[in-house]
Subunit: 231 residues, 4 copies
DNA sequence: TATGAATGAGAATTCATTCAT
DNA sequence: TATGAATGAATTCTCATTCAT
């Protein structure tokens, strides 16, 4: 469940430390401006969606200027794509931090579920951005060379774990790793992304810690209950 | 998997029934106007989200006029709520059409999964509307007497099936029906709602018929594999 | 030299007289609004060119609202085209008021020159609009069904006069009516349209009444001196 | 018709000549920068007018940078004036290349017409700039010491030719050289500057070589037909 | 019940210009 | 001399909503 917390904006804290030598200054300010716009945009898009996001608010929150937003990103849509790319970069970086290839298969799958749950829980903006992008039929992503086809490494990890578990007789066979990965993601995603309507309709506060703990346990039980063979 | 096709336009007013006599003509037109606005709004909100939806387009698509929209619904937000309520009414009506209480537990769960998948697949606008509402933290739904706490009957159905399956020794015990229901919904929801980004990122067309068939099979196997006990 | 003064906006004075009966009101206001926007736009575009014209100023000058401008005309460019079409309609209407077909050829040509001069002098906005449109390579006009190929009736008039003058031995032969028409227009146009730079560079006030009178005389002498044969 | 190709970029600084020694390199680059900005501005202003011209595009096209533009010229308006002055310098230089004082009057007038036509045809940007400046009521030119009252030498040339022709009995008397000069310029100017609208409205391609040839012949016939006396 | 006209506030985007280095 | 970064004020255009009839 170690999740290296990538944050939407590539480690602004690393930049803040102090102002080192002179000539570096200009470049650093530019980067900082760009990064702060990206961070502000991430929050704004996540909170209001693409259509509801306001360029003015982004500039304000970035303590920058609307003009700079266009200077660095070109348009609202281009900025949205940059935000998406940054978000994907964040989860990929976190995924790379996981190392499950040498773990026990059962334990590996459990940790993979936990990681996914934790990442989604810690990054509600990621879910919101994906929802927005799907509303727009992934038209931004389709244009992105950076992301198109940028498969998650977790699928390969899962494939390895499944193979190892099958060989040892612990896991059932004929499980498609991609389908299982989508299931694992979906089990967390839906609960977290739709908590507001679910809580309202069911009259249960799904945000509470006990409920969340129960959810994680249920998901682990569900997936492992399916995968593992008796005996 | 019978799903009575509620359609977005299912005119809630039709349920209220009044004035079936003389001045029918005008009243009918009024209902028709209201219904066509609701239908147009459903499509617009589903396609563009709340922030991206345009009142003008709704009036145009309804072959009506903006003023009427305000006359019948009061505001864009109120119209959005009406659309949501109508959508929930639609799924509830469909759910009521299912009768699984007397089926074999295994079969009942399978059919419940199939129903959910089918409904979501046939009603992408429902998923889109829920996403929008969650983006807005369910603030419309929370105001709706009609929906707040309007639990799905499927949860009770599922509880019955689980109990029967447990008693017969087919199903494992200690399964929370709500958690399981959320899982079943999430397995379908995520796949369908996020198909655009998933297809783009994984380079596989998740919309294709074979892929969808495989998905349904996987979900059934997953849930029943978890629930059913060996022997 | 009678020139029925078409005015850029179809006789607003006719509309102002008084507010007659009730039901006519709405329609009339709409027309009035549209007309006042057109008039204001004519002045703005003539004074500042297409690029320099300001939509805000047009709305202000029309005592209307920016939104109305878009409501009636759709865009700044479409408004510019409407202004152009209206201006062309104005000159065509004025041209139709001339009736030179039965005049003496010499007199007819003289009056045609005088008419052209007078119209251009009374309608500096027409010259300015044409200059703007030429700067933009007539891209608006090319899209206009109303104007494309809407030949001036004066060319046919000129052709008739030339033929009659040639037959009577007064005029030289082999004169292309279109070339001559362009020359007559150009002689007035350049003087009036470029008065500011010409006056500045030559240090002579070409706007003064005597200078203008001299100009008209010169043009008549030039054209008739060319056309008429000795004897 | 020799026209010494002044070119918009003719670097007025080149006339000033200084520092032809050691630090030449930097100085040369400076001149080159200034000249390339001037050239780029000429094209931009000619193409889009003063209001439609963009400082960014000028800097880009000059392969320089916006700051330099302000460094050398001070403001957009001042740059426009510099462009105008450069353009006038261009035509004056070309006019000085003509030497018609000793030619036969008829031939001299013909060549003067041809020169004017040719220069305008080769320098559409000059016409466009003059149109812009007239739109702005010559406010830039009026401020320019360099140009105010900088009469064209052609007027004096024309006066000489007219006098010689009158004395020899070839030309009619009482012809104002300035009026005639304006006529000659106007005959070319209007045709060339308004080709786009004229071609569109008349449905004839006035840009074609045969049409242009016919135009030049018509203008020469018109002016000489007017000037020359029979016998 | 229906509709065309109207509007003010605000939306994204662009502009000429200046600052810091 | 040169340049990238920055900005405030505009600019075109749009939005949800209301008025008058």
């Amino acid at each position: 469940m170690s999740e290296t917390l990538p944050g939407a904006v590539a480690t602004p804290s690393a930049l803040r430390r102090h102002k080192p030598v002179a000539p570096v200054r200009a470049a650093r300010d530019a980067k900082r401006t760009e990064a702060s716009i990206l961070a502000a945009a991430t929050e704004e898009f996540a909170r209001h969606g693409l259509g509801g996001a306001r360029v003015d608010r982004i500039a304000l929150r970035a303590r920058s200027n609307k003009r700079m937003l266009y200077y660095y990103f070109g348009s609202k849509d281009a900025l949205f794509l940059a935000v998406l790319e940054n978000a994907y970069a964040g989860i990929r970086r976190a995924e790379e931090g996981l190392n499950l290839l040498n773990t026990d298969p059962v334990d590996g799958v459990r940790r993979l579920i936990e990681f996914t749950w934790q990442f989604f829980a810690n990054h509600p903006e990621f879910l919101a951005l994906l929802n927005s992008e799907n509303l727009h039929e992934a038209r931004h992503l389709k244009r992105s060379r950076q992301i198109r086809g940028m498969n998650s490494p977790l699928i390969e990890t899962l494939a390895v774990l499944l193979r190892r578990g099958q060989r040892s007789g612990e896991f059932r066979s004929k499980v498609d790793p991609l389908q299982l990965y989508i299931s694992i993601a979906g089990l967390s995603y839906f609960y977290l992304s739709n908590s507001h309507t679910l809580s309202t309709v069911f009259g249960r506060d799904l945000f509470s810690a006990p409920q969340r703990k129960a959810r994680l346990e249920h998901m682990v039980a569900l997936v492992l209950g399916y995968l593992t063979l008796p005996g």
